[in-house]
């Protein structure tokens, strides 16, 4: 029975992707003369050259990190979706440490990354505290915190850390000891290894520690957790702090590896994409790895199609959103699944 359901689940996934692609293809028919070629690029683009392949991998790093951060809070059914603001504030923290910490090799980088995690968790602390202390909805407060993070960090960076010699609104360049290395000439972000490792660690945390057991119990039924003698409030608080640290670290990795300055003038959006990654992974940290890779693949495939065929970039975004919409629509093909379950159940007994 379990196996059948797994097969079904996978079939469902494949079919939804198929439907999404079909609709996407119809969209393409209206926007280009060569829909077939554009489509082929979209599907295979990230695999066509090494540069593109690494671009795809690099894109998956922040997605994996924010997806992981959100899967943690979602496991406990806590809807602190402020990963965006935490990532932004974490990046700011990384910048502070990178620019101010003594330039000792390794230690400097480590402190910078820890700094980003620290700042991320500070940002997650506020909604977590408000929830624990006064039962304020973490959904609302964490969303609001995104705006505060954005404008506060921009204000600080542009007024106090701006590199006036640079041609754009960016911070001073980080010293080399605070760089996270990039590999090969195509600049593979070595943060990918951190992200994969962290996903596995968090997966172990959720499924193989007593702390994770409590998170799962509370996520399924909070009342039952309290009734069984768990400190539900405290666990819900700390899971948010941990999630904030992961989201903050995402910002730290992105800056120290890819830009080596604070470069963002708008929110990069990874925090929100992370929600999609987490939902697709069913909040399972292990599954966050393939889920982030999948979303990144779509992103980069669409970008490549946009760059090389001149399909309007808006169509690309429509295509992406469509696919995500269909994949996350749980009720899609539910009937089909229902029938199979009915058949299986009647046979099984």
């Amino acid at each position: 029975m379990k196996k059948t359901l797994l097969v079904l689940e996978f079939t469902r996934f494949v079919i939804t992707v198929g439907i999404a692609l079909l609709i996407g293809y119809i969209f393409l028919l209206f926007s280009t003369d060569k829909p077939y070629e554009a489509f082929k690029l979209f599907l295979t683009g990230p695999l066509t050259t090494q540069r593109r392949f690494f671009e795809f991998l690099n894109n998956s790093v922040p997605l994996m990190m924010t997806g992981l951060a959100l899967s943690l809070v979602f496991q406990a059914k806590v809807f602190n979706i402020g990963a965006e603001g935490q990532l932004f504030f974490g990046a700011f923290g990384a910048m502070l440490f990178a620019l101010n910490f003594p330039q000792v090799s390794w230690l400097h980088l480590i402190m910078t990354l820890i700094g980003s995690a620290l700042f991320g968790s500070i940002w997650a602390f506020v909604p977590a505290f408000l929830r624990t202390k006064w039962k304020a909805s973490e959904l609302v407060s964490s969303l609001m915190m995104n705006y505060i993070s954005y404008f506060l960090v921009l204000f600080l960076v542009n007024n106090y850390f701006r590199d006036k010699s640079a041609g754009a609104l960016v911070s001073y360049r980080f010293p080399q000891t605070a760089w996270l290395s990039v590999i090969t000439k195509y600049r593979l972000n070595s943060g990918l290894f951190i992200a994969v490792l962290l996903s596995i660690l968090m997966g172990l945390l959720i499924y193989r520690t007593k702390w994770g057991y409590q998170i799962r119990v509370i996520g399924v039924n909070k009342k039952f957790g309290l009734y069984s003698g768990m400190r539900t409030m405290s666990i819900m608080f700390w899971v948010q702090i941990l999630s904030g640290a992961v989201a903050g670290l995402a910002g730290g990795i992105e800056l120290t590896a890819m830009y080596r300055r604070f470069v963002w003038q708008s929110l990069p959006g990874y925090g929100f994409d992370g929600i999609i990654v987490a939902i697709l992974a069913r909040n399972n940290p292990f599954l966050v790895i393939p889920s982030a890779l999948f979303i990144a693949y779509l992103r980069i495939g669409a970008n490549i199609m946009g760059r090389t065929t001149g399909v309007a970039p808006e169509i690309v975004i429509v295509l992406q959103s469509l696919m995500i919409l269909l994949i996350t629509a749980e009720a899609l093909l539910e009937k089909f699944k229902q029938k199979a379950i009915a058949k299986e159940a009647m046979k099984g007994e």
Binding site: Y213, K223, L226, Y227, S228, G229
Partner: protein
């Protein structure tokens, strides 16, 4: 003429549970037809299909000998089917009249409701049934029996010719049950058809014309009332010989384990829910708190187990006041708790059986080391418990949602009876579960008592209380109105106290507790 027929109905739920498998049932017009079966046998699902709440996976329905598709309660109502649910579907802040006519209010002009006409219609129906309902009172504070009448009127006013009642007597006192049966008889005389689901076989024998027995998602058979005895019915329900042999030997209780002193609780709206509650619980006894639902039991148990914080008074356990303590501390001090609501409180439905069994001891050996949670040990333990407590499921990895009510309850009971606690709070431990599981759980409770533990049993089931309790406290409107030894008392005696028709004086209660 046949009122309603099910032909080869099969229903499979989204989670793969087969609730009805090729069910055939035909109900004659003008009869009282009882449907009995263990919990999870598929009775309620079948009723939900009749009333359009669930759709069958396959099969055919006929109402008054015409094939129909019922896809919503609205359609069911238009076909003349009415249903009174176990948990009433009333708007508490509306008046009786407003509730009865909700959605079908007679109009005066375009916007305003014709209250005069409303009253006339309701009085007419009520008179026909010899009912008395306070038409302009709010439903909020009315007794359960009256609420049930309102539900019946609601169905009749909407033109019901077939009335389905889901466990109608589970919330009533013996006196109220008799009233209900009078009403049902009158309805049948008027040519209505009554279908009712119940667990109480004496009531079935008392009122039903025919009885359909279900087991394991199938119909075992339909019988004329006089053809079968209560024992026959039980055996057909569980599919084997059944001997009701709960034995409770007299025992001298030991030392006092728990003392409740002057506990008072006020709800947020100022209502005085628990009034000066005082009693003590001893090792080696089963103390029952009897009372109709909603007389403060729920709140008291929550206070006692740390799930509700704001109360006054003292609850002493080993000399420590545990009132207001965190459930964790209360558990550590040796109180375990079988909650009233197994679905909302007692289980994590989407976690496996094994993980549900260790929620109070996951942090101890052998389930956890310092940090690591040992999955294999948890599974082993799950397997062992399932065997010991007769939990029927494929494996300990099955999620609890897949289990029937009785098996779910056994999971809860298995957990709460195998920890090291000396005091067990059992709140409605057999509520809404089948006969065999109930018997099993009651035996276990007695066994705990014999092992020198203290059991506080909170129950609305008088049969259960008389069967296993040593002493009985009757709670009425948050107050203890009687303290009785379980010797030579009957359900009717208790019924009077529960309804507030009789009470012992405070001195009498105090005096009897001293001994």
């Amino acid at each position: 003429m046949k009122a309603i027929e099910a032909v080869n109905i099969t229903k499979v739920y989204p989670n793969g549970v087969v609730a009805n498998r090729g069910v055939n049932l035909s109900i004659e017009q003008g009869e009282v037809h009882a449907i009995v079966g263990e919990n999870g046998a598929g009775k309620t699902t079948l009723m939900k299909i009749f009333f359009g709440i669930e759709r069958p996976t396959s099969g055919e329905l006929r109402v008054f000998e015409k094939p129909v598709h019922i896809s919503s309660p609205k359609e069911a109502i238009s076909l003349g089917i009415g249903m009174v649910h176990q948990h009433f579907m009333l708007v508490p802040s509306f008046t009786v009249a407003e509730n009865i006519m909700l959605g079908i209010e007679p109009k005066k002009g375009f916007f305003s409701v014709d209250f005069k006409k409303m009253e006339n219609v309701i009085t007419e129906y009520a008179k026909r049934l010899n009912f008395e309902v306070p038409i302009w009172e709010k439903v909020l504070d009315l007794p359960v029996g009256v609420k049930q009448r309102i539900e019946i009127l609601k169905a009749l006013v909407r033109g019901a010719r077939i009335l389905i009642l889901d466990e109608p007597s589970s919330v009533l006192t013996p006196q109220e049950v008799n009233d209900l049966f009078d009403v049902l008889r009158r309805l049948v005389q008027d040519g209505l058809t009554v279908i009712f689901i119940t667990h109480k076989l004496n009531e079935v024998k008392q009122i039903a014309n025919r009885i359909t027995i279900m087991r394991n998602a199938q119909v075992v058979g339909t019988y004329e009332n006089r053809e079968v005895t209560e024992t026959d019915i039980v055996e057909l329900m569980i599919g084997r010989k059944f001997e009701y042999d709960i034995k409770r030997e007299r025992r001298e209780p030991g030392e006092v384990l728990l003392t409740v002193k002057d506990v008072n609780y006020f709800r947020e709206d100022g209502a005085h829910i628990i009034k000066n509650l005082s009693f003590s619980l001893r090792a080696g006894e089963i103390l029952a708190i009897a009372g109709l639902e909603g007389n403060g039991q729920k709140e008291f148990v929550e206070i006692l187990t740390g799930l509700r914080e704001k109360a006054e008074g003292k609850i002493l356990l080993n000399g420590t006041n545990i009132l207001g303590a965190h459930p964790k501390k209360i558990r550590q001090m040796g109180i375990s708790h079988i909650p009233e609501d197994r679905i909302e409180v007692g289980c994590a439905l989407d976690l496996p059986i094994s993980e549900n069994l260790i929620s109070d001891r996951f942090h101890t050996k052998p389930f956890s080391g310092r940090l690591i949670y040992r999955k294999r040990q948890v599974l082993e333990f799950g397997k062992k418990m399932m065997k010991e407590f007769d939990v029927r499921a494929k494996s300990p990895t099955t999620i609890v949602r897949m289990l029937s009510g009785g098996n779910m309850q056994k999971v809860v009971v298995a957990r709460e009876m195998t920890n090291s606690a000396r005091i067990v709070i059992a709140n409605q431990p057999t509520h809404g579960i089948d006969v065999a599981s109930s018997e099993f759980i009651r035996k276990k409770l007695i066994q705990m008592r014999d092992d020198g533990k203290a059991v506080l049993l909170i129950s609305t089931d008088l049969q259960e209380i008389l069967q296993i309790a040593d002493r009985i406290l009757v709670l009425y409107k948050g107050e203890i109105v009687a303290h009785l030894k379980n010797e030579n008392i009957t359900e009717t005696d208790l019924g009077y106290y529960m309804l507030g028709a009789k009470r012992q004086s405070d001195e009498q209660i105090k005096e009897s507790m001293k001994v």
